[in-house]
């Protein structure tokens, strides 16, 4: 079950059309290292994890990623709002407009549609957590590239927030990997409700 909160995790107010950045932001909306990929990757991998702490981390980070996906969609919508067809065409969005109008379709900046082959779910906890750590670093790099492409502070500020979240998520997945390695080498048992310490 999920509950919707009618609010963005971090505010987005882009007041001038910027179709060039709308196109580039699609990297994080429908690209291989997008917020959509992140959310699906973590929420999908939860079911085969053997430890409660890792199940919790994947559930909560997966949920936060969906809120980030909403922020990116909001940024794209506001960057396209008020742009003329000439401006969309000059930004290379004429093909996008013909197929999607003002809709926000999950594709990358080159128009390649999102596919589930961008995520992995091997069912192997070490392999999946290693993928998650790499995914966070790839998303961080993409955010830095996006910030390099504009000097619009209304776009840079939310990107700065999103970049910082990748760093925190990487840290938490690193801890999950350490938990998993301790279980694999027999240094600790998987945690579950039955072994939880009572305060």
């Amino acid at each position: 079950m999920w509950i919707y909160e009618k609010r963005l995790e971090y505010p987005v107010h882009i007041t001038k059309p910027d179709p060039r950045m709308a196109k580039l932001l699609m990297a994080q909306y429908g690209g291989p290292d997008s917020e959509l990929g992140a959310g699906l990757r973590y929420l999908t991998q939860r079911y085969s994890m053997p430890d409660d702490r890792i199940r919790a981390t994947l559930t909560d980070i997966g949920t936060e990623e969906i809120a980030h996906w909403e922020m990116i969609a909001t940024m794209i919508t506001q960057c396209m709002q008020g742009a003329t067809l000439e401006e969309l065409t000059a930004a290379g969005l004429d093909g996008y407009y013909v197929m999607h109008g003002n809709g926000v379709f999950p594709a990358d900046p080159n128009g390649v549609p999102f596919t589930s082959s961008y995520i992995a779910c091997t069912g192997d906890p070490i392999a999946d957590l290693s993928e998650d750590m790499a995914a966070e670093q790839k998303a961080r790099a993409t955010y830095e590239h996006l910030m390099n492409m504009t000097n619009n502070s209304q776009i840079i500020e939310p990107l700065y927030f999103l970049r910082e979240r990748e760093v925190v998520h990487y840290q938490r997945f690193g801890e999950c990997l350490e938990i998993m390695q301790a279980i694999k080498t027999g240094r600790s048992a998987p945690s579950c409700r039955c072994s939880r310490r009572r305060f």
Binding site: I3, Y4, K6, L8, P11, R53, T74, Q78
Partner: protein, 83 residues
């Protein structure tokens, strides 16, 4: 009740919710950290108070019964992606 404007109250809710997101992720891998648990619970009480005030003064923030609804404001109040 505070005398925050709607924007200021939303910003405050965002700040407290963000602290809770951060503490939640930390507690996921450190579930036995009592200090962080206490911090989490203190922020949760504050969030509940701020969200109740927001709902009472400006309309519902959450769907499916987490917020009480008045006639139509869930539907007709601005959606988060609208400028």
């Amino acid at each position: 009740m505070t005398d925050y404007t709607e924007q200021a109250l939303l910003q405050k809710i965002g700040e407290v919710r963000f602290a809770l997101v951060e503490l939640q992720l930390y507690l996921d891998t450190h579930p036995e950290d009592l200090d962080a648990t206490n911090d989490f619970n203190a922020y949760a009480v504050t969030l509940d108070r701020l969200c109740s005030e927001y709902t009472e003064r400006f309309g519902p923030l959450e769907n499916f019964g987490n917020s009480t609804h008045d006639a139509g404001s869930w539907v007709f109040e601005k959606w988060p992606w609208q400028n």
